[in-house]
């Protein structure tokens, strides 16, 4: 169902596609978001870059002039052609929650988020979970099963992450396409049950 690249190397969305949806793949730095997007996407994953100007906190700022630094933040994304009329875009979020305007553009209108976590550093996920809660983005959590990472009981992980009872928690191997799709199905089943709170327009 995926069209071949045209002569300019672009893979266009086939004519006849009338709807597109978006799911964000989030998680802390190095948790496997890029790998996940790359293995699940049906087209070679792409990357876009936004430049963000941040005020940096000066330590000994005698002149009291605000220092500004420009950071380039990359976002990987992929695409699934789910039917003749529907495409699903998967966007990997930046690993840090501090790029607020970027996160808003990514989560706005998203069906929901799949948060990847690494058992070796669960604490790194707190910031991401808090951000989704603050923005009202419904999410499911998937433990990315890294080789050699300690395996814990999912109940223990649920406790450690302080997840709500209704939040789905599953495992996946970000390198494996089927495993990734199953994690996305877990998220979408939850969204269907939850009557998709994110689909209500937010002020």
């Amino acid at each position: 169902m995926v069209s071949a690249p045209s002569s300019d190397g672009l893979i266009h969305v086939p004519p006849g596609v009338t709807r597109s949806a978006k799911i964000v793949i989030s998680g802390s730095f190095g948790v496997g978001k890029t790998t996940f997007v790359g293995s699940v996407s049906q087209v070679p994953p792409l990357r876009m870059e936004e430049r963000i100007t941040e005020a940096s906190a000066g330590v000994d700022d005698l002149a009291r002039t605000p220092h500004k630094t420009t950071t380039t933040v990359g976002m990987d994304f992929g695409r699934l052609h789910l039917s003749d009329a529907l495409v699903l875009y998967l966007f990997g979020t930046p690993g840090q929650g501090r790029f607020r305007p970027l996160w808003e553009g990514l989560t706005e209108g998203a069906l929901g988020a799949l948060v990847l976590v690494d058992t070796r550093d669960l604490e790194a996920s707190f910031e991401i979970l808090a951000l989704h809660e603050e923005q009202g983005t419904p999410y499911a959590v998937a433990v990315n099963l890294f080789d050699g990472a300690p395996r814990y009981d999912l109940d223990e992980i649920r406790q450690a992450l302080d997840l709500a009872a209704h939040t789905p928690l599953t495992t996946c191997d970000a390198r494996d396409s089927t495993s990734g799709v199953l994690a996305l199905i877990t998220l979408c089943e939850y969204l269907t049950d939850a009557h998709a709170p994110a689909l209500e327009p937010r002020p």
């Binding site: 266009h12 596609v17 495409v87 553009g105 979408c188 689909l199």
Partner: protein, 118 residues
């Protein structure tokens, strides 16, 4: 350094987008657009580059994110450029006959499509 700076990132977004400073809120990263047959005279360089991506599209579309990646433009700028090109009638959003279906149907459709993959 000799000669003028040519780093395209130094061009302010409103220069790129010829005055439009805000994207249509319905034009999001995943919004798919198609080329339409409006008049292309007087288009700015960046708008022409966007339209150039549809030269071999054979009626196919691109999402805002695809355009940002292909042109290496910041997605925030592309949202504005695309909004402006929709206003000018050069790009359109695909229309389905049953476009007023609720969003919950979209979720069901996504779920069905994902289940068909495994």
């Amino acid at each position: 350094m000799s000669g003028p700076r040519r780093d395209p990132d130094l061009v302010r977004p409103y220069v790129r987008t010829e005055g439009r400073v805000r994207a249509d809120p319905d034009v999001r990263l995943e919004t798919v657009v198609l080329a339409a047959s409006g008049p292309r005279e007087g288009l700015g360089a960046d708008a022409r580059r966007v339209m150039g991506l549809f030269a071999h599209s054979r009626g196919g579309g691109l999402a805002v994110a695809d355009i940002a990646a292909a042109l290496e433009f910041p997605p925030s700028t592309v949202r504005i450029l695309v909004s402006s090109l929709i206003d000018d009638g050069l790009l359109t959003r695909p229309v389905a006959a049953d476009d007023d279906r609720p969003q919950t149907d979209l979720l069901q459709e996504v779920l069905r499509g994902l289940r068909a993959l495994v």
